[in-house]
Symmetry: C2
Subunit: 299 residues, 2 copies
């Protein structure tokens, strides 16, 4: 598996492709952004003029595109699947709905290629450092074939099942907890704020108690700021919790906490804060629970 096509050189994809180059793989990349292709070639990769050209004759095609629609466009409409070697492995690493991933996997296998459903978590820091968590679903022999490539990208590599879509489901469940934990932290701050509790002391207490979560420690400090830098936007969780609820709907599973959290992210987005840091789901709680500052004097 020396030759790799890589499509989607964004905030996550570019550093992942560079990790593969550094690990000795011959990476041929494609993205619509020329600057990303420049960065890849400077690091020792090569550029392609299309997704199909990136895939042509390679042993593996990594897709780090935005969603399943883009993955389908690249593979089926764009001709990348047909351009691959007949024994090639398609590795879908974008975050997609489990049912969509399962569907793509079926079509890839129907075309005689192998498929790995391998979404990641760990963000840009993990992508850059090769420390991603990778949740891979593939038949055992296909996972074994893809392992060296995946090991260059993440140090927490899990084989979660043999059916395409199971990796996407684990990622979906991961996002369920992430989204609920962020909204819960905001809900906690909202209640405490009404009682006049100092939020800094509160955060210190909660971060060291059984109430703690990774998200509380990470997003909590940004909830103390009025205009925090955007690490990940509210609208990302509008999308990710939509995928969670779609997965629940597809599997006929009621998810009351995820549904409630989604409403809060949706409301924050509807109030005009979709581009704000996701810690600012707090603003939806402010709208619910605090008198608007501009009207404080009227009452």
């Amino acid at each position: 598996m020396a030759g790799i096509g890589f499509v989607g050189l964004g905030a996550m994809g570019l550093p992942m492709a560079l990790r593969l180059v550094a690990a000795g793989f011959a990476v041929r990349g494609f993205d619509l952004k020329a600057a990303a292709l420049d960065a890849l070639t400077q690091a020792g990769g090569t550029r392609a003029a299309s997704a199909a050209e990136a895939a042509a004759g390679t042993d593996a095609l990594v897709l780090m595109v935005v969603n399943s629609a883009q993955a389908r466009a690249v593979l089926f409409d764009g001709g990348a699947l047909a351009a691959l070697k007949s024994s090639a492995v398609v590795i879908l690493m974008a975050t997609c709905a489990p049912a969509d991933t399962a569907g793509i996997g079926e079509e890839v296998e129907a075309a005689g290629r192998r498929f790995v459903d391998a979404p990641v978590s760990g963000g840009v820091v993990g992508a850059t450092g090769g420390t991603l968590t990778i949740m891979a679903a593939a038949r055992n022999e296909v996972f074994a074939a893809a392992r060296p490539l995946l090991a260059a990208l993440g140090d927490k590599l899990f084989h979660v099942g043999e059916r395409p879509g199971q990796g996407a489901m684990v990622k979906t469940v991961n996002q369920l907890l992430c989204g609920v934990h962020i909204a819960a932290a905001a809900e906690a701050f909202s209640l405490a704020g009404k009682a006049g509790i100092d939020r800094r002391i509160l955060l210190e207490i909660l971060s060291g108690s059984a109430a703690s979560s990774w998200m509380l420690k990470d997003r909590g400090p940004r909830m103390l700021e009025d205009e925090p830098a955007v690490a990940s936007a509210v609208d990302i969780f509008v999308k990710d919790l939509s995928l969670v609820l779609d997965a629940g709907r597809a599997g006929k599973a009621a998810l009351p906490l995820a549904a409630a959290a989604h409403q809060m992210f949706l409301a924050a987005s509807g109030l005009g804060h979709g581009g704000a840091d996701d810690s600012q789901v707090l603003r939806a709680y402010r709208a619910l629970n605090e008198e608007p500052p501009s009207r404080t004097g009227e009452g």
Copy 2:
């Protein structure tokens, strides 16, 4: 503050009283259970025949009773408040609704005594080791007077405000997050279970990712067991999330995640699992999302 009355020598109260004895305080305890009084006297404390006798002439009265109704019964009906020295400090460490704690504080101060609202977290392990988190609200000079006593009980001692009820509010907010995080973990397992994901691998992945929480790591392993030992019961969170929602109602704060989580603990209790380990809120999700095993064959 050499002489301390201590009422409520239960699973938490007894080890706390023993810590005070070990720290050199003269502790006179009362509880309805003779075995607890025996343990206290064996450790070097003294026993009282009533709460009023425990309080008589002491500088401080610690209340580690079940709820605010018991605290009121001890202080007002049982005569403990009137029995205290005129300068004495009442330290309420039980988990109570913020409004109830504020009301008790007002009555204590109206009787000329001082008051500290100081609920704890950290469980029996923290009580035994003197490593509790203590969330204290009191006027500055009262907090200063109580500090040596509190420092013998906990190593994470926070002065969260000057108004009685603010300590109870911080504890309430703490329980909001604890309860939501347990229910969220169960919701995550429920969704993943429908997709055939191995729950052990899932727990390992989630525990090491941004989806992690203290409760996921603590309760998650017990969610993998069918009949885990009871560390803390479902009905404790039925009560604690009730206090959370009461606090929200009193402050006119909408708490959609806490409300949803409470419904799941309530349902688990209603299904007959109120005495089970609180990880078994999972059984309410099973009832919602999985076909009952006994009817699987009926089609």
